[in-house]
Amino acid sequence: MSLIASNLSLKPEEQYHLDDICFEMSQGQIYTIIGRTLSGKTTLLKTIAGLIAPDSGGLVLDGNDFGSIPVWKREVAMVYQQFINYPHLTVYENVAFPLKQRGTQKAEIHNRVMNALSQVGLEGFQSRKIQALSGGQQQRVALARSLVKEAKILLLDEPLVNLDYKLREQLREEFKSIFNTKASADSILIYSSTDPVEAMQLGGQILVMDEGRILQQASAKEVYENPNSTKVSQITNDPAMNLFEGMVGEGKIILSPEIQFDSPKHFKGLPEGTYTFGLRAVAITLGEIGFPFAIELSEISGSETFLHLKHNEINLVGLLDSVQSFSIGEKVTVKFDISHLYAFSTDGSLKSSPYGGLM
């Protein structure tokens, strides 16, 4: 089973919500659409669900025109970022709802509902009212309702975004194990997120979206190692990859008169000229030998410290794997791990990566 989108476009007003979207998705795979808010993720999911009609382009499922099927007849299930359930129904009735709509036999409804509730860890909750559940439990009900349908396409629109941190971590693990079993094997699973960590953890294929366009579609590993543009590098990293202008010349990289260093090995063959360099926060740390920067802000996050650093026009975010306090304006020496340095052309396309060498 495969879902093919060809040239899907939607431009209700001035801006494109979907801009020439093309992809092919296969059964048994998890596809994570990652993009910032208003990048078109939800619009794309709703278009696949049939809730939004594109201006042009088409969807084909298993060789059949999928776009002309009304939403209530499409083999899709969807979980929203809000905890959308039917408040007037009990947990059992909520999960049974799509099956009742299909006219499924009572006994089969019962078996499938209980199975779905067990999958999401809600056994014993079937007679509760939705209002009596916590946010996490409500989202589990929504997930159970989407699983019980055994739909060909399962859409999850940032399902964890409205949960608190701890619950998000817990549910992410549970979701992953659910997806890696039955649901994922029988269907095409499309998950949208703004969180790069979530996207990477889910694995599978990643589609990076921005302003209604798909910027890159590849495996999670490939997107992480070789983001094909500065935009992708920003979207798929948290904190966003540091980008700074500089020159490549005579085997050196020159960012400013004070910041110059030898080109890394993977830059060999890179033509001399001006580039945008990229370095993840994890590759920027403090050392005894390095370059002079001033602390603009330091943020403690768990057992790590994020440093916002400034040198003339160069602004970077670095990461210390310990908790440390700094005063604003404090002078520090910053060390770059240039073996993880990326080079992008001035128009933003990837020219050299630590994992793939020259592009």
Binding site: V71, M78, Y80, H88, Q101
Partner: protein
């Protein structure tokens, strides 16, 4: 200072309660008086200041020929007209409000907000402006002085209230609920009546209450559009106010006219307070 504010608060509540309850107490007291007790100076406490009698209440069920005022028929007319007018208004108003809340309409420069305003603008006009057109239209249709004519007029008057309240209510129900119902296999109408409607009961009750209050208490159109065949309760009560007003009967009739609204308010309040109607859309 806190004590002062608490005292002030309770004083205000007490004054307001007296202001609201006093006319009721006065009407209740008067409904049990006879001619002598009413005309012979101010009397307040039954069995002390005056001997209570059921004459006022009994007169409500007697025909004028037997010395009564007979408000049974006007009462039933009012029940029918208010119930039918409110029911039709709620059904049509809810459907219209759902459409205005969920779909985008464009008619020239008019958009959804303008259409909603158009509905409610019917209520901005003074009733007297509508009276003549209603009179002419009902006359042409042969519906003057009929219950059906009054129901039609009340639907026109009450539906804007229903639309106004329900548009606001539906706007607060996340559209994702309808979308989820569609994805779960409902067609648009099933999504409305199986999912949206059951979760909109609080709004429907509020709209229904407003419709019933406006319909039940209307005097103006009931007076203008009826003559001899049909009489509604407010008109019948006002008609008691003649050269020799039977204040005891009038008070009893006034209490009867208020009773249904009090009962409705109590039922709705209890129903709402149970939390059964909470939309609970987190």
């Amino acid at each position: 200072m806190r004590l002062f504010y608490i005292t002030l608060k309770y004083l205000a509540v007490t004054l307001w309660s007296v202001f609201v309850i006093a006319p009721f107490l006065w009407a209740i007291s008067t409904s049990f008086k006879d001619f002598q007790s009413v005309t012979g100076g101010a009397t307040y406490i039954p069995w002390v200041d005056f001997e209570p009698t059921l004459d006022g209440w009994q007169s409500l069920f007697k025909s004028p020929a037997r010395g009564g005022v007979d408000i049974v028929e006007p009462f039933l007319n009012s029940v029918f007209v208010t119930a039918a007018g409110s029911l039709v208004s709620i059904i049509l108003g809810t459907l219209a409000a759902y459409a205005l809340s969920r779909y985008t309409f464009k008619a020239g420069p008019m958009r959804n907000g303008d259409i909603t305003f158009f509905f409610i603008s019917q209520r901005i006009m003074p009733p007297v402006v509508l009276a003549i057109p209603f009179f002419i239209m009902l006359g042409k249709l042969g519906l003057l002085d009929t219950l059906l004519g009054l129901v039609l007029v009340y639907v026109v008057l009450l539906m804007p209230i229903a639309v106004w309240i329900m548009v606001d209510f539906f706007n607060k129900v996340p559209q994702e609920i309808d979308e989820t119902a569609l994805i779960d296999g409902c067609n648009p109408f099933q999504a409305f009546y199986k999912v949206v409607l059951p979760n909109s009961i609080p709004g429907i009750i509020v709209a229904g209450m407003f419709c019933m209050i406006f319909g039940w208490t209307d005097f103006f159109f009931a007076f203008i559009l009826t003559f001899t065949e049909v009489q509604l309760l407010p008109v019948a009560i006002v008609a008691l106010n003649s050269s020799i007003t039977p204040w005891w009967s009038l008070s009893a009739a006034a209490l009867v006219s208020v009773a249904p609204l009090v009962v409705v308010a109590f039922i709705v309040e209890r129903y709402l307070s149970k939390g059964n109607l909470s939309g609970a859309l987190k």
